[in-house]
């Protein structure tokens, strides 16, 4: 299929040892950074897949999390601020044989790269997009990010932020993403499950990871990260199951009009009108309502909001080429001789 001037080399088999996905570079994140957990989770997930190491490409922009490719013993490209997604789009479409991952942050993906974010998702490019959301600019030492809370004091907002934050999951759903999920860096088991599913999704798989920045925004997601309070502050989305949470499994989510509300009940008697999660729903309406739940009034939903299969950009691109080849000459000389007649 691939027409190129490069030699065909023998491939290797899948790697089962997650340590073999680590590069020889020293990991230079701050001690205690949430990024370490994500790195470990992804290395573990790759070792569980039947894909040889050389078929992985990790693409990133700029920011702490964007150092990610340097720490992976795969192909990697640390690019420029905000532009990982269009670069990854070129990589994936030029060689659909690769599994392409994007490591990005809240500033990289949603501020400087905001435009690329919505367009990569709407095109359903087959990418695994991991957004490390610590609600702060870390690499530039502590300025406001587009996910920072209203009123937040940072180096660039000493009087408190006067900007309203945006919600990455809401944005992903509004951008027609076919796989949308949220996980916690502090919950390795839960995150591993989510990332494995993202890895197997065909199309854009978007995962927001809530993680801490120990230096510039310590306690970014305190309540959901702390093991002690987590089960009260988090609701885990499970396909086909009602939305129930709490250490005692005695709380649930139902709709009041268009607004989700928390309802308490006796653990063995959940009310019938709890929201039942459907990640495969054709329209993302319910997923959108759930995405609007935030830690101020509700538990934070984690898990897979949406997982639907739609043709991806590279599949459609290849399909058009195959179709065009059936109806128009594939001989360059014929095209050069007369464009009008040779064009499809």
């Amino acid at each position: 299929m691939q027409e190129n001037g490069f030699e065909n080399l023998p491939g290797s088999g899948p790697l089962r040892d997650s340590k073999k996905f680590a590069s020889d570079q020293m990991v230079r994140w701050c001690p205690g950074c949430g990024d370490f957990a994500v790195l470990a989770v992804i290395q573990k997930v790759l070792a569980s897949l039947d894909i040889p190491r050389e078929k992985y490409a990790f693409i990133s922009g700029i920011g702490c999390s964007s150092r990610f490719p340097y720490y992976m013993n795969t192909y990697g490209f640390h690019s420029i601020h905000g532009r990982a997604l269009p670069i990854a789009t070129g990589v994936k479409c030029a060689n659909p044989d690769l599994q392409v991952w994007v490591a990005t942050g809240d500033g990289d993906a949603l501020s400087i790269g905001g435009n690329h974010f919505i367009h990569a998702l709407r095109r359903n490019v087959d990418l695994k997009v991991i957004l490390f959301n610590n609600r702060i600019y870390g690499l530039t030492k502590g300025q406001l990010s587009p996910t920072s809370e209203f009123g937040k004091k940072t180096k660039s907002t000493p009087w408190g932020s006067i900007e309203y934050p945006l919600n990455p999951v809401t944005m992903a759903l509004a951008s027609e993403a076919t796989f949308v999920a949220r996980g916690l860096a502090a919950d390795v088991a839960g995150l591993t499950e989510i990332v494995s599913r993202a890895a197997k999704h065909q199309g854009t798989a978007f995962v927001e990871v809530l993680q801490n920045c120990v230096v510039f925004n310590n306690g970014a997601w305190k309540e959901v990260e702390d093991k002690a309070s987590r089960e009260e502050r988090v609701v885990r989305l499970q396909h086909g199951k009602p939305l129930i949470f709490g250490k005692d499994r005695n709380k649930g989510i139902r709709l009041k009009g268009f607004d989700p509300e928390v309802v308490e009940f006796l653990p063995d008697r959940p009310p019938k009108d709890l929201v039942v999660h459907d990640e495969k729903a054709e329209s993302p309406h319910m997923a959108y309502l759930l995405s609007k739940m935030n830690e101020t009034n509700h538990p934070v939903p984690v898990g897979v909001f949406r997982a639907v299969r739609q043709p991806t950009l590279h599949e459609l691109m290849e399909e058009q080429i195959i179709k065009a080849r059936q109806s128009a000459p594939t001989d360059l000389q014929a095209v050069l001789n007369n464009s009008e007649e040779a064009a499809a």
């Binding site: 080399l9 992985y56 070129g90 919505i118 050069l336 001789n337």
Partner: protein, 622 residues
């Protein structure tokens, strides 16, 4: 339906002429570009060399009859070489008063005006600022004026067809085209065939346009309106397959060919921008050749997608105009430091900012040479004619792959939309340029350079044993890991510069037109080639000691340029900017070169260059 007869042999007398320049002008909705394009195609089929200049407003449909809404299409064709679209039209076809008003000052004295007299009503005259009707008040006494009731005559010719009056009226451009075909003895078969294909789904309009064309032709034949018709001998050309191409078409075909010669998949990531969009349109047609085109969400995404595609092993290319290059410039820095092949095409237009989007200019040379952050050298090439865009697209791709570098290729609005006949090459005769072979995996280092070219190896994701990381942070020499050491940074900056400098060995010696030494050298680059060559040829015919040389490589410059410059007493550099190449030449070679500069959104007239050189020869400095 298809019983329209071919035209009978001509009954009137004829005269043989060497060349003629015709300008079609009218409202932007009058089908002027289409008419001009059809005339060009017929002229190419008739075997004449030609050069065209489509000149249209930035507005899609400017207010009817307004001066700023006038769209023009000029074509110069000849029995010898047609280097430019012609300085002053010999014939003006004016569809309304505004078209007449805008174009009469350009028209040659004694030239012919064919005007659609039906459009010369009070309202249109007023819009064009005419107090009285110029077709009647004697103000056009310098020209030979032939008023034709185009609208009425077209309407009559189409009687019996189920058309509304405005629909019939819209066919008047074909009526006028039919007249012009008669006057210059052009074949009509091509246009008749084109109409059939174009209006396949609307047989009534197909019939109407064909009828209008033939009626216009018959009208010219039977009424003795012009007195005689003209014949222009075929231009002497090398044998081969010829077709008419615009620069943008040639650019697209060049990229397709480059992909084949390199054995790489072609990726073209682009964002719509005037006057570069046609490259995207053209390439999008050729999915049958396996090209992948990507209309990105913005200029930055366009270039980044191409960088990504290059990382994955494709021939990554992107095209835009000056404002788009500004947006891409950060990514160009990335492409330079990661040393991936990339072709960036700039179809220059009048700037700064949105400037004159549909007009031509050469004012992005400094941007191409210097417009990036950091020490960021990049090869810069420039096409000289529309057909040359084909060759230069291949050359830019070849250098990009061989030297593992982004390459900037400059064209401009004049080349992009202007057309000329192009001899289609036999692709089996073109030189292939596959990427260099890789060392075995255990010997592979991402920044271990080829000693001759200084290019780094191009190992692709998917190849086992070559896994590596690249990125925008400074690279350690050889290993390519992140490195912040002062000595390493300077070494890498110098290596990147040295690599680009090595490209000088690829550049052929300067091709000087005229005496090897003498009084004046006219030095040009880009789209001024035609006007310079025509002007210098005329001066040489007059016996003047004048030569010209043209640069297609702007960085690095040809190694013998300094030597060539030194052989002439004076050097003059015509440019469609306020003096950019002239600055470079003065800086580099300490030559007292003089600029000839124009920034009107228009290309040079031959006479402008000729006069400037005459002034220089006479010792005047303008």
């Amino acid at each position: 339906m298809n019983k329209l007869k071919a035209v009978k042999p001509k009954s009137q007398s004829s005269e043989e002429i060497d060349s003629v320049t015709i300008r079609f002008a009218g409202d932007s909705g009058d089908g002027i570009q289409l008419t001009g394009l059809q005339f060009s195609t017929a002229t190419a089929l008739a075997g004449n060399d030609l050069s065209t200049f489509p000149d249209y407003p930035a507005d899609i449909r400017a207010p009817l009859g307004s001066l700023f809404g006038v769209s023009g299409y000029q074509i110069h064709f000849s029995s010898s070489r047609a280097f430019t679209p012609g300085d002053a039209p010999d014939v003006l076809v004016a569809m309304n008063p505004a078209a007449l008003k805008v174009n009469t000052k350009e028209l040659r004295k004694g030239g012919l005006v064919i005007a659609n007299s039906d459009a010369f009503n009070t309202q249109n005259l007023g819009k064009a600022g005419y107090a009285t009707n110029p077709l009647e008040d004697g103000s056009l006494s310098d020209f030979r004026v032939i008023p034709v009731e185009l609208s009425r005559r077209t309407g009559e010719a189409l009687q019996g067809l189920p058309l509304t009056k405005p629909q019939a009226e819209r066919c008047k451009n074909f009526y006028a085209l039919g007249m012009m075909y008669w006057l210059y003895d052009r074949p009509m078969e091509g246009t008749l065939k084109w109409i059939e294909t174009k209006f396949k789904k609307n047989p009534v309009m197909a019939e109407a346009n064909k009828k209008a064309l033939l009626a216009g032709n018959a009208f010219a034949e039977t009424t003795e309106l012009f007195g005689q018709y003209y014949r222009i001998k075929k231009s002497p050309v090398e044998p081969g397959v010829y077709r008419n191409v615009t620069g943008n078409e040639a650019m697209a075909l060049g990229l397709l060919t480059a992909a084949q010669l390199s054995g790489l998949q072609l990726w073209y990531g682009s964002y719509p921008i005037t006057p570069a969009s046609e490259i995207l349109h053209e390439l999008s047609k050729y999915k049958n050749l396996g090209v992948k085109t990507f209309q990105a969400e913005d200029e930055i995404a366009a270039v980044c997608s191409s960088i990504g595609a290059a990382f994955a092993g494709a021939l990554g290319t992107t095209g835009t105009s000056g404002p788009g290059v500004s947006l891409k410039s950060e990514a160009l820095g990335l492409a330079a430091i990661v040393e991936l092949p990339l072709v960036i095409i700039n179809i220059q237009r009048g700037g700064p900012s949105t400037g004159l989007p549909t007009k031509t200019e050469q004012s992005d040379l400094f941007q191409a040479l210097y417009g990036r952050h950091g020490e960021c050298p990049m090869p810069v090439l420039a096409a000289a004619t529309p057909a040359d865009c084909f060759q230069m697209a291949i050359e830019a791709s070849r250098l990009a792959v061989k030297y593992m570098t982004p390459v900037l290729l400059l064209s401009d609005g004049f080349l992009g939309i202007g057309a000329e006949p192009w001899r289609v090459p036999d692709i089996t005769k073109l030189v292939k340029f596959p990427p260099s072979k890789l060392p075995p995996p255990d010997k592979f280092k991402p920044y271990q350079r080829d000693p001759t070219t200084l290019a780094r190896p191009w190992a692709l994701p998917g190849m086992s044993g070559y896994e590596h990381r690249i990125g925008g942070l400074e690279k350690a020499d050889i290993t390519g890991t992140v490195n912040y050491e002062p000595e390493n940074h300077e070494r890498m900056c110098r290596l990147r510069q040295a690599k680009i400098d090595k490209i000088v060995s690829e550049i052929p010696p300067m091709d000087v037109l005229g005496p090897k030494k003498g009084k004046v050298l006219v030095l040009g680059w880009g789209s001024t080639y035609g006007a310079i060559t025509a002007a210098v040829s005329r001066l040489q015919a007059k016996g003047e000691s004048v030569a010209s040389a043209h640069l297609r490589y702007l960085n690095p410059l040809p190694s013998d340029l300094g030597e060539v410059l030194a052989r002439y007493e004076r050097v003059i550099v015509p440019e469609l900017n306020l003096g950019q190449l002239v600055h470079l030449v003065r800086d580099r070679y300490l030559v007292d070169a003089q600029g000839l500069n124009k920034v009107k959104g228009l290309s040079f007239k031959v006479a402008e260059i000729e006069n400037a050189v005459m002034a220089l020869l006479a010792g005047r400095r303008d």
